[in-house]
Symmetry: C2
Subunit: 202 residues, 2 copies
Amino acid sequence: MGSRSTVKRADALRSIDAIVTAAAECLGENPEASLSEIARSAGVGRVTLYAHFASRAELVDAAMSRAIDRGNQALDAVDLTGDPLLALARYVEAGWHLVDQARALLVAAQRELPPGRIRELHSGPAARVETLIARGRAEGAFRTDLPIAWLVNVLHSIMHSAADEIRAGRLTSEHAADHITATVLAAFTPPGKPVPEPDAGA
Amino acid sequence: MGSRSTVKRADALRSIDAIVTAAAECLGENPEASLSEIARSAGVGRVTLYAHFASRAELVDAAMSRAIDRGNQALDAVDLTGDPLLALARYVEAGWHLVDQARALLVAAQRELPPGRIRELHSGPAARVETLIARGRAEGAFRTDLPIAWLVNVLHSIMHSAADEIRAGRLTSEHAADHITATVLAAFTPPGKPVPEPDAGA
DNA sequence: AATAAGTCGAACAGCACTGTTTGGCTTATG
DNA sequence: CATAAGCCAAACAGTGCTGTTCGACTTATT
Protein backbone atom coordinates (compact mmCIF):
# COMPACT_ATOMS: atom_id res chain seq x y z
CA MET A 1 0.00 0.00 0.00
CA GLY A 2 1.22 3.52 -0.74
CA SER A 3 2.00 5.28 -4.01
CA ARG A 4 -1.09 4.81 -6.12
CA SER A 5 0.12 7.11 -8.90
CA THR A 6 3.41 6.64 -10.74
CA VAL A 7 5.61 9.06 -8.82
CA LYS A 8 5.17 11.72 -6.15
CA ARG A 9 6.21 15.24 -6.79
CA ALA A 10 9.12 16.68 -4.86
CA ASP A 11 7.06 19.13 -2.82
CA ALA A 12 4.61 16.38 -1.93
CA LEU A 13 7.45 14.30 -0.53
CA ARG A 14 8.64 17.30 1.40
CA SER A 15 5.18 17.81 2.87
CA ILE A 16 4.85 14.17 3.82
CA ASP A 17 8.20 14.28 5.53
CA ALA A 18 7.31 17.43 7.44
CA ILE A 19 4.01 15.92 8.52
CA VAL A 20 5.51 12.69 9.79
CA THR A 21 8.23 14.60 11.61
CA ALA A 22 5.70 16.92 13.20
CA ALA A 23 3.53 13.96 14.13
CA ALA A 24 6.38 12.26 15.94
CA GLU A 25 7.14 15.52 17.71
CA CYS A 26 3.59 16.42 18.73
CA LEU A 27 2.51 12.92 19.68
CA GLY A 28 5.75 12.62 21.60
CA GLU A 29 4.67 15.50 23.79
CA ASN A 30 0.99 14.67 23.89
CA PRO A 31 -0.42 11.39 22.61
CA GLU A 32 -3.83 13.04 22.14
CA ALA A 33 -2.57 15.76 19.84
CA SER A 34 -5.14 16.49 17.14
CA LEU A 35 -4.47 16.32 13.43
CA SER A 36 -5.01 20.08 13.26
CA GLU A 37 -2.20 20.62 15.72
CA ILE A 38 0.10 18.32 13.81
CA ALA A 39 -0.69 19.98 10.49
CA ARG A 40 -0.07 23.42 11.97
CA SER A 41 3.16 22.26 13.55
CA ALA A 42 4.23 20.87 10.20
CA GLY A 43 3.58 24.22 8.53
CA VAL A 44 0.99 22.61 6.32
CA GLY A 45 -2.75 22.91 5.78
CA ARG A 46 -5.04 20.41 7.41
CA VAL A 47 -6.36 19.42 4.01
CA THR A 48 -2.89 18.57 2.79
CA LEU A 49 -2.47 16.22 5.67
CA TYR A 50 -5.66 14.39 4.74
CA ALA A 51 -4.50 14.28 1.16
CA HIS A 52 -1.57 12.10 2.21
CA PHE A 53 -2.94 10.18 5.17
CA ALA A 54 -6.46 8.86 4.92
CA SER A 55 -6.91 8.49 8.66
CA ARG A 56 -5.33 9.33 11.95
CA ALA A 57 -4.29 5.70 12.37
CA GLU A 58 -2.41 5.78 9.10
CA LEU A 59 -0.39 8.77 10.23
CA VAL A 60 0.38 7.33 13.63
CA ASP A 61 1.53 4.17 11.93
CA ALA A 62 3.83 6.13 9.65
CA ALA A 63 5.33 8.11 12.54
CA MET A 64 5.83 5.00 14.63
CA SER A 65 7.35 3.08 11.75
CA ARG A 66 9.84 5.82 11.12
CA ALA A 67 10.80 6.00 14.79
CA ILE A 68 11.33 2.26 14.89
CA ASP A 69 13.38 2.39 11.71
CA ARG A 70 15.60 5.07 13.14
CA GLY A 71 15.96 3.02 16.30
CA ASN A 72 16.88 -0.08 14.37
CA GLN A 73 19.52 1.86 12.49
CA ALA A 74 21.01 3.20 15.71
CA LEU A 75 20.97 -0.27 17.19
CA ASP A 76 22.74 -1.68 14.17
CA ALA A 77 25.80 0.29 15.20
CA VAL A 78 25.93 -1.42 18.58
CA ASP A 79 28.33 -4.31 19.03
CA LEU A 80 26.42 -7.13 20.68
CA THR A 81 29.21 -9.71 20.51
CA GLY A 82 31.71 -10.63 23.20
CA ASP A 83 30.95 -10.83 26.90
CA PRO A 84 27.14 -10.88 27.20
CA LEU A 85 27.26 -8.64 30.26
CA LEU A 86 29.19 -5.95 28.46
CA ALA A 87 27.08 -6.41 25.33
CA LEU A 88 23.94 -5.90 27.35
CA ALA A 89 25.44 -2.81 28.93
CA ARG A 90 26.19 -1.43 25.48
CA TYR A 91 22.67 -2.19 24.36
CA VAL A 92 21.20 -0.34 27.30
CA GLU A 93 23.49 2.61 26.77
CA ALA A 94 22.23 2.99 23.22
CA GLY A 95 18.68 1.81 23.74
CA TRP A 96 17.27 3.59 26.76
CA HIS A 97 17.69 6.87 24.96
CA LEU A 98 15.55 5.68 22.08
CA VAL A 99 12.93 4.37 24.42
CA ASP A 100 12.86 7.73 26.13
CA GLN A 101 12.16 9.55 22.90
CA ALA A 102 9.58 7.12 21.54
CA ARG A 103 7.86 6.82 24.90
CA ALA A 104 4.77 8.97 24.37
CA LEU A 105 4.67 8.12 20.70
CA LEU A 106 4.21 4.52 21.74
CA VAL A 107 1.31 5.51 23.94
CA ALA A 108 -0.38 7.11 20.96
CA ALA A 109 0.30 4.04 18.86
CA GLN A 110 -1.21 1.78 21.50
CA ARG A 111 -4.44 3.72 21.32
CA GLU A 112 -4.73 3.99 17.58
CA LEU A 113 -3.16 0.83 16.22
CA PRO A 114 -4.24 -2.79 16.62
CA PRO A 115 -2.07 -4.66 19.14
CA GLY A 116 -0.76 -7.01 16.49
CA ARG A 117 0.63 -4.13 14.49
CA ILE A 118 2.49 -2.83 17.54
CA ARG A 119 4.15 -6.15 18.15
CA GLU A 120 4.99 -6.42 14.48
CA LEU A 121 6.75 -3.08 14.57
CA HIS A 122 8.68 -4.06 17.69
CA SER A 123 9.76 -7.40 16.35
CA GLY A 124 13.06 -6.00 15.09
CA PRO A 125 14.49 -4.70 18.38
CA ALA A 126 12.88 -7.55 20.30
CA ALA A 127 14.66 -10.17 18.19
CA ARG A 128 17.98 -8.47 18.80
CA VAL A 129 17.63 -8.67 22.57
CA GLU A 130 16.26 -12.17 22.42
CA THR A 131 19.26 -13.57 20.65
CA LEU A 132 21.61 -11.68 22.94
CA ILE A 133 19.88 -13.10 25.99
CA ALA A 134 19.78 -16.57 24.50
CA ARG A 135 23.52 -16.42 23.92
CA GLY A 136 24.13 -15.16 27.43
CA ARG A 137 22.12 -18.05 28.79
CA ALA A 138 24.04 -20.57 26.74
CA GLU A 139 27.28 -19.17 28.13
CA GLY A 140 26.00 -19.36 31.69
CA ALA A 141 25.98 -15.60 32.19
CA PHE A 142 22.18 -15.19 32.38
CA ARG A 143 19.60 -17.14 34.31
CA THR A 144 17.62 -19.92 32.65
CA ASP A 145 14.92 -20.33 35.29
CA LEU A 146 12.73 -17.66 33.70
CA PRO A 147 11.39 -17.55 30.13
CA ILE A 148 13.29 -15.45 27.64
CA ALA A 149 10.14 -13.47 26.81
CA TRP A 150 9.89 -12.45 30.46
CA LEU A 151 13.50 -11.29 30.58
CA VAL A 152 13.04 -9.24 27.43
CA ASN A 153 9.99 -7.73 28.99
CA VAL A 154 11.84 -6.89 32.21
CA LEU A 155 14.56 -5.12 30.28
CA HIS A 156 12.17 -2.98 28.31
CA SER A 157 9.89 -2.23 31.21
CA ILE A 158 12.83 -1.00 33.28
CA MET A 159 14.01 1.20 30.45
CA HIS A 160 10.53 2.62 30.12
CA SER A 161 10.22 3.28 33.81
CA ALA A 162 13.57 5.04 33.79
CA ALA A 163 12.24 7.31 31.07
CA ASP A 164 9.23 8.10 33.24
CA GLU A 165 11.44 8.81 36.23
CA ILE A 166 13.48 11.26 34.22
CA ARG A 167 10.38 13.07 33.05
CA ALA A 168 9.19 13.25 36.64
CA GLY A 169 12.49 14.82 37.62
CA ARG A 170 13.41 12.02 40.03
CA LEU A 171 16.30 10.78 37.89
CA THR A 172 18.92 12.53 35.79
CA SER A 173 19.71 11.22 32.31
CA GLU A 174 23.29 11.21 33.59
CA HIS A 175 22.69 8.21 35.83
CA ALA A 176 19.92 6.52 33.88
CA ALA A 177 22.05 4.09 31.91
CA ASP A 178 24.07 3.11 35.00
CA HIS A 179 20.98 2.42 37.07
CA ILE A 180 19.32 0.44 34.34
CA THR A 181 22.38 -1.70 33.65
CA ALA A 182 23.07 -2.33 37.32
CA THR A 183 19.48 -3.38 37.86
CA VAL A 184 19.08 -5.52 34.77
CA LEU A 185 22.42 -7.29 35.10
CA ALA A 186 21.47 -8.23 38.65
CA ALA A 187 18.00 -9.32 37.59
CA PHE A 188 19.47 -11.54 34.86
CA THR A 189 22.04 -13.21 37.10
CA PRO A 190 21.44 -16.96 37.58
CA PRO A 191 20.33 -17.86 41.14
CA GLY A 192 23.33 -18.87 43.24
CA LYS A 193 25.80 -16.83 41.22
CA PRO A 194 27.08 -13.48 42.54
CA VAL A 195 25.71 -10.25 41.11
CA PRO A 196 28.33 -8.60 38.85
CA GLU A 197 30.09 -5.55 40.26
CA PRO A 198 30.00 -2.36 38.24
CA ASP A 199 33.79 -1.85 38.13
CA ALA A 200 34.12 -4.16 35.12
CA GLY A 201 33.32 -2.08 32.03
CA ALA A 202 33.97 1.54 31.09
CA MET B 1 -14.67 18.34 51.57
CA GLY B 2 -17.78 16.30 50.81
CA SER B 3 -21.18 16.23 52.49
CA ARG B 4 -22.53 19.72 52.13
CA SER B 5 -25.97 18.90 53.51
CA THR B 6 -26.45 17.37 56.95
CA VAL B 7 -26.82 13.72 55.93
CA LYS B 8 -27.26 11.79 52.70
CA ARG B 9 -30.25 9.60 52.26
CA ALA B 10 -29.75 5.84 52.11
CA ASP B 11 -30.61 5.49 48.43
CA ALA B 12 -28.28 8.32 47.57
CA LEU B 13 -25.44 6.52 49.29
CA ARG B 14 -26.37 3.36 47.44
CA SER B 15 -26.29 5.23 44.13
CA ILE B 16 -22.95 6.78 44.89
CA ASP B 17 -21.54 3.42 45.78
CA ALA B 18 -22.90 1.83 42.62
CA ILE B 19 -21.46 4.65 40.53
CA VAL B 20 -18.00 4.46 42.02
CA THR B 21 -18.00 0.69 41.69
CA ALA B 22 -19.12 0.89 38.07
CA ALA B 23 -16.52 3.56 37.39
CA ALA B 24 -13.74 1.37 38.72
CA GLU B 25 -15.07 -1.49 36.61
CA CYS B 26 -15.54 0.42 33.36
CA LEU B 27 -12.38 2.47 33.58
CA GLY B 28 -10.58 -0.73 34.47
CA GLU B 29 -11.57 -2.15 31.11
CA ASN B 30 -11.30 1.04 29.13
CA PRO B 31 -9.73 4.22 30.50
CA GLU B 32 -11.71 6.30 28.02
CA ALA B 33 -15.09 5.02 29.13
CA SER B 34 -17.64 7.84 28.97
CA LEU B 35 -19.74 8.97 31.90
CA SER B 36 -22.82 7.72 30.07
CA GLU B 37 -21.36 4.23 29.94
CA ILE B 38 -20.48 4.33 33.60
CA ALA B 39 -23.93 5.57 34.59
CA ARG B 40 -25.59 2.87 32.52
CA SER B 41 -23.33 0.21 33.95
CA ALA B 42 -24.20 1.46 37.43
CA GLY B 43 -27.89 1.11 36.67
CA VAL B 44 -28.35 4.81 37.23
CA GLY B 45 -29.36 7.80 35.15
CA ARG B 46 -26.71 10.06 33.74
CA VAL B 47 -28.22 12.99 35.57
CA THR B 48 -27.92 11.19 38.87
CA LEU B 49 -24.24 10.75 38.27
CA TYR B 50 -23.81 14.47 37.71
CA ALA B 51 -25.83 15.12 40.84
CA HIS B 52 -23.12 13.44 42.89
CA PHE B 53 -19.96 14.15 40.93
CA ALA B 54 -19.54 17.60 39.49
CA SER B 55 -16.98 16.53 36.91
CA ARG B 56 -15.39 13.53 35.37
CA ALA B 57 -12.20 14.23 37.30
CA GLU B 58 -14.06 14.12 40.58
CA LEU B 59 -15.42 10.68 39.78
CA VAL B 60 -12.09 9.31 38.67
CA ASP B 61 -10.58 10.62 41.86
CA ALA B 62 -13.24 8.88 43.93
CA ALA B 63 -12.78 5.58 42.11
CA MET B 64 -9.03 5.76 42.40
CA SER B 65 -9.18 6.69 46.06
CA ARG B 66 -11.37 3.75 46.83
CA ALA B 67 -9.12 1.34 44.94
CA ILE B 68 -6.12 2.63 46.85
CA ASP B 69 -7.97 2.34 50.14
CA ARG B 70 -8.89 -1.24 49.41
CA GLY B 71 -5.31 -1.92 48.47
CA ASN B 72 -4.03 -0.38 51.65
CA GLN B 73 -6.38 -2.50 53.69
CA ALA B 74 -5.27 -5.66 51.92
CA LEU B 75 -1.66 -4.69 52.43
CA ASP B 76 -2.24 -4.11 56.12
CA ALA B 77 -2.81 -7.84 56.50
CA VAL B 78 0.63 -8.64 55.10
CA ASP B 79 3.42 -9.37 57.55
CA LEU B 80 6.43 -7.32 56.49
CA THR B 81 8.63 -8.25 59.46
CA GLY B 82 11.28 -10.93 59.62
CA ASP B 83 13.65 -11.86 56.79
CA PRO B 84 13.44 -8.99 54.26
CA LEU B 85 13.61 -11.45 51.37
CA LEU B 86 10.62 -13.38 52.58
CA ALA B 87 8.81 -10.17 53.54
CA LEU B 88 9.30 -8.83 50.02
CA ALA B 89 8.04 -12.10 48.57
CA ARG B 90 4.93 -11.82 50.71
CA TYR B 91 4.44 -8.23 49.60
CA VAL B 92 4.64 -9.20 45.95
CA GLU B 93 2.27 -12.11 46.45
CA ALA B 94 -0.36 -9.76 47.85
CA GLY B 95 0.48 -6.68 45.82
CA TRP B 96 0.80 -7.72 42.19
CA HIS B 97 -2.79 -8.75 42.20
CA LEU B 98 -3.88 -5.30 43.29
CA VAL B 99 -1.70 -3.67 40.69
CA ASP B 100 -3.26 -5.90 38.08
CA GLN B 101 -6.76 -4.78 38.96
CA ALA B 102 -5.99 -1.08 39.29
CA ARG B 103 -3.85 -1.08 36.15
CA ALA B 104 -6.17 0.58 33.65
CA LEU B 105 -7.79 2.62 36.36
CA LEU B 106 -4.42 4.19 36.95
CA VAL B 107 -4.14 5.05 33.29
CA ALA B 108 -7.45 6.89 33.49
CA ALA B 109 -6.30 8.69 36.62
CA GLN B 110 -3.09 9.76 34.95
CA ARG B 111 -5.09 11.46 32.23
CA GLU B 112 -7.63 13.16 34.38
CA LEU B 113 -5.87 13.99 37.62
CA PRO B 114 -2.95 16.32 38.27
CA PRO B 115 0.32 14.38 38.77
CA GLY B 116 0.64 15.60 42.34
CA ARG B 117 -2.67 14.03 43.25
CA ILE B 118 -1.57 10.69 41.86
CA ARG B 119 1.57 10.67 43.93
CA GLU B 120 -0.41 11.71 46.96
CA LEU B 121 -2.73 8.77 46.54
CA HIS B 122 0.20 6.41 46.13
CA SER B 123 2.07 7.65 49.13
CA GLY B 124 0.57 4.97 51.38
CA PRO B 125 1.77 1.88 49.55
CA ALA B 126 4.98 3.59 48.54
CA ALA B 127 5.91 4.31 52.14
CA ARG B 128 5.36 0.68 53.06
CA VAL B 129 7.81 -0.58 50.47
CA GLU B 130 10.29 2.13 51.23
CA THR B 131 10.62 1.19 54.88
CA LEU B 132 10.84 -2.48 53.99
CA ILE B 133 13.62 -1.81 51.53
CA ALA B 134 15.39 0.50 53.95
CA ARG B 135 15.34 -2.23 56.59
CA GLY B 136 16.59 -4.81 54.11
CA ARG B 137 19.46 -2.51 53.22
CA ALA B 138 20.35 -1.97 56.86
CA GLU B 139 20.48 -5.74 57.33
CA GLY B 140 22.69 -6.20 54.26
CA ALA B 141 20.06 -8.10 52.31
CA PHE B 142 19.45 -5.41 49.67
CA ARG B 143 21.85 -3.35 47.63
CA THR B 144 22.78 0.17 48.71
CA ASP B 145 24.43 1.31 45.48
CA LEU B 146 21.13 2.50 44.01
CA PRO B 147 18.69 5.05 45.48
CA ILE B 148 15.70 3.68 47.37
CA ALA B 149 13.31 5.59 45.12
CA TRP B 150 14.76 3.76 42.15
CA LEU B 151 14.33 0.36 43.79
CA VAL B 152 10.73 1.15 44.68
CA ASN B 153 10.19 2.16 41.10
CA VAL B 154 11.73 -1.05 39.78
CA LEU B 155 9.46 -3.14 41.95
CA HIS B 156 6.31 -1.40 40.84
CA SER B 157 7.26 -1.22 37.22
CA ILE B 158 7.91 -4.97 37.14
CA MET B 159 4.59 -5.66 38.79
CA HIS B 160 2.90 -3.45 36.22
CA SER B 161 4.62 -5.11 33.32
CA ALA B 162 3.61 -8.52 34.65
CA ALA B 163 0.02 -7.34 34.63
CA ASP B 164 0.43 -6.28 31.00
CA GLU B 165 1.94 -9.63 30.10
CA ILE B 166 -0.98 -11.46 31.62
CA ARG B 167 -3.44 -9.37 29.69
CA ALA B 168 -1.50 -10.08 26.52
CA GLY B 169 -1.75 -13.79 27.24
CA ARG B 170 2.00 -14.27 27.45
CA LEU B 171 1.98 -15.04 31.17
CA THR B 172 -0.40 -16.95 33.42
CA SER B 173 -1.44 -15.48 36.75
CA GLU B 174 -0.24 -18.81 38.13
CA HIS B 175 3.42 -17.94 37.59
CA ALA B 176 3.22 -14.19 37.88
CA ALA B 177 4.13 -13.88 41.54
CA ASP B 178 7.02 -16.33 41.18
CA HIS B 179 8.51 -14.51 38.22
CA ILE B 180 8.17 -11.14 39.84
CA THR B 181 9.74 -12.24 43.10
CA ALA B 182 12.58 -14.09 41.41
CA THR B 183 13.33 -11.04 39.28
CA VAL B 184 13.04 -8.43 41.98
CA LEU B 185 15.00 -10.35 44.58
CA ALA B 186 17.81 -10.73 42.09
CA ALA B 187 17.62 -7.07 41.11
CA PHE B 188 17.83 -6.03 44.77
CA THR B 189 20.81 -8.25 45.62
CA PRO B 190 23.95 -6.29 46.54
CA PRO B 191 26.74 -6.54 43.92
CA GLY B 192 29.14 -9.35 44.85
CA LYS B 193 26.56 -11.32 46.81
CA PRO B 194 24.91 -14.39 45.29
CA VAL B 195 21.37 -14.17 43.98
CA PRO B 196 18.98 -15.99 46.36
CA GLU B 197 17.68 -19.36 45.20
CA PRO B 198 13.92 -19.87 45.07
CA ASP B 199 13.88 -23.00 47.29
CA ALA B 200 13.90 -20.88 50.45
CA GLY B 201 10.32 -19.76 51.03
CA ALA B 202 7.05 -21.51 50.08
C1' DA C 1 4.64 27.41 -21.42
C1' DA C 2 1.34 23.99 -20.72
C1' DT C 3 -0.52 20.82 -17.61
C1' DA C 4 -0.99 17.85 -14.12
C1' DA C 5 0.00 17.61 -9.26
C1' DG C 6 -0.04 19.74 -5.12
C1' DT C 7 -1.50 23.23 -1.65
C1' DC C 8 -4.65 25.96 0.99
C1' DG C 9 -8.63 28.35 3.51
C1' DA C 10 -13.16 28.15 4.29
C1' DA C 11 -16.92 25.85 5.13
C1' DC C 12 -19.90 21.70 5.73
C1' DA C 13 -21.74 17.49 7.92
C1' DG C 14 -21.44 14.22 11.40
C1' DC C 15 -20.29 12.45 15.65
C1' DA C 16 -19.45 11.85 20.61
C1' DC C 17 -18.89 13.71 24.68
C1' DT C 18 -19.63 17.11 28.70
C1' DG C 19 -22.47 19.58 31.59
C1' DT C 20 -27.14 21.77 32.53
C1' DT C 21 -32.09 22.47 32.88
C1' DT C 22 -36.93 21.11 33.29
C1' DG C 23 -40.71 18.71 35.16
C1' DG C 24 -42.67 14.78 36.78
C1' DC C 25 -42.03 10.68 39.41
C1' DT C 26 -40.53 7.48 43.46
C1' DT C 27 -38.98 6.71 48.02
C1' DA C 28 -36.63 7.26 52.32
C1' DT C 29 -37.25 9.33 56.63
C1' DG C 30 -39.17 11.86 60.50
C1' DC D 1 -48.42 10.24 55.81
C1' DA D 2 -46.42 14.24 54.55
C1' DT D 3 -42.46 16.17 52.56
C1' DA D 4 -38.03 16.84 51.41
C1' DA D 5 -34.58 14.26 49.09
C1' DG D 6 -33.47 11.74 45.48
C1' DC D 7 -34.25 9.77 40.85
C1' DC D 8 -34.78 9.89 35.84
C1' DA D 9 -35.73 10.66 30.68
C1' DA D 10 -35.68 14.02 27.38
C1' DA D 11 -33.93 17.75 25.56
C1' DC D 12 -30.69 21.64 25.11
C1' DA D 13 -26.33 24.19 24.46
C1' DG D 14 -21.56 24.01 23.77
C1' DT D 15 -17.19 22.10 22.38
C1' DG D 16 -13.78 19.81 19.67
C1' DC D 17 -12.67 16.52 16.86
C1' DT D 18 -12.77 13.77 12.18
C1' DG D 19 -13.21 13.49 7.45
C1' DT D 20 -14.89 15.67 3.02
C1' DT D 21 -15.86 19.02 -0.60
C1' DC D 22 -15.12 23.17 -3.21
C1' DG D 23 -12.76 26.54 -5.87
C1' DA D 24 -8.81 29.29 -6.42
C1' DC D 25 -4.01 29.52 -6.24
C1' DT D 26 1.00 27.89 -6.71
C1' DT D 27 4.59 24.98 -8.27
C1' DA D 28 7.06 21.01 -10.07
C1' DT D 29 7.76 18.53 -14.16
C1' DT D 30 7.82 17.53 -19.58
